[in-house]
Symmetry: C2
Subunit: 254 residues, 2 copies
């Protein structure tokens, strides 16, 4: 990839893309991960490449939900490991969450590369690596059905950044509360999760971390109220309206 000039109108998006391509070159990201990232880029572009107030509402609700949980697990795939391993390590620390590697396009070599990269970024305990602890999540055909007995299987809250729709549904059916990051407010993942943060994960994850810190002393009653007051369907509709309004703005500027 050629050097990206900082003056480029979409330099930030190109830097993020470069991280992902490096992740691909280092054997963390699957081909399909590059395609999926491209889809995300398009939605980010339509959303104005910034964190909206709608996304901030979801982030606050997610933080409250995380603080209320008995066991939070962050599910890691190749893209998230390539894009923000440090931030994931921080979030796991703040929220006492466990980290589990769970891949759609499973490949032992790629899994090991992801684990190595997470360890380099100060993630100490990584689940999903011991076949003796593997159990099957019902209702899924893909490799993602294999989960860790002490991780996703036992969790009450699962954070799934950059997820596929089938798994989100399977996790919901298994009684989990699902928090996701998804730039497409129309996707099945977005529509199925309990809390959908419609934002670029590289922007939103630090904000989630800060929100967890900010709410860490808040009492449970207030946290429960934050979660109860959050309506994912309404929030997704607002994100769709934001895209529509951005299109209208572009039309009148044309």
């Amino acid at each position: 990839m050629p050097l990206i000039p900082k003056s480029h109108p979409r330099a930030k998006s190109l830097f993020i893309r470069e991280k992902l391509v490096t992740g691909f070159d280092n054997g963390l990201v699957a081909k399909e991960g590059l395609l999926a990232h491209g889809r995300g880029e398009a939605f980010d572009y339509l959303l104005g490449e910034k964190t909206s107030n709608t996304a901030k509402l979801a982030i606050k609700a997610a933080a409250a939900q995380i603080l209320l949980a008995n066991l939070v697990v962050i599910s890691i795939n190749g893209n998230i490991a390539a894009l923000c391993p440090k931030e994931i390590a921080k979030l796991a620390n703040t929220s006492r969450a466990k980290i589990e590697v769970n891949l759609f396009y499973v490949n032992e070599k790629r899994k090991q590369n992801i684990i190595k990269s997470l360890k380099k970024n100060c993630v100490k305990h990584i689940l999903g690596t011991n076949p003796k602890l593997s159990v099957t999540l019902p209702g899924l055909d893909s490799a993602r059905r294999i989960v860790d007995k002490n991780g996703i299987f036992a969790a009450d809250v699962v954070i799934v950044p950059l997820e596929d729709g089938d798994r989100t549904l399977a996790l919901r059916k298994a009684g989990k509360i699902v928090i996701t990051f998804d730039l497409n407010p129309l996707s099945r993942t977005s529509q199925t999760a309990n809390i959908t943060i419609v934002d670029n994960v590289t922007r939103a994850i630090d904000l989630l971390n800060k929100a967890c810190k900010k709410l860490s002393k808040t009492n449970q009653k207030i946290l429960k109220k934050i979660v109860k007051d959050f309506n994912n369907k309404n929030n997704l509709s607002n994100s769709i309206i934001e895209i529509r309004d951005n299109l209208t703005r572009r039309l009148s500027n044309a």
Copy 2:
């Protein structure tokens, strides 16, 4: 990539994706091409994954413009070679267009793979392969500035499917009439080209071929009127409105 069931709600999109991934595995498509395809998928999804009447208008204007040209050149990159080599060969035949390979992420091995694949799909003459005929298109930094003296350099009409904005602008500045296929009606390519077909190239290219055949006996005066009556800015605005209307429909179905 796992087997795609025909019943999958987005099976067609997944089949197209599979072609591209195969093109990547065969050394035709660049990593960046996978990302770019992902962006296209998102826009196609927002456009309803079908050829709109707006796109059909652009296809008709493009056909008229092709038939009026002295020399048409179709510029080929890795993605287009992977997605529809047969259709490109047919279009070149119908429209007496030349075919030139011109890559953004240049790589001799990849270029040779693309040439081999085009030849396998009955493309006989391929330009952009003889360094002695290379000349430089002004106003471009990327490798795409190198063009064939008898091809893009000499053409009055250049068809650039799946293009980058910088090059479209450079081609326009060089006095070329540019026809492009681009699923993003907001992109610089879309906004800079003379005629933008906002549609998936795998659907639209056959329609363009048919339109060329249908108009092949039409007299020049009528062809000129078709081109003159076509307004690319208005047409792009209509595509943006279509995306907006699709979002509204999704909102009211939610």
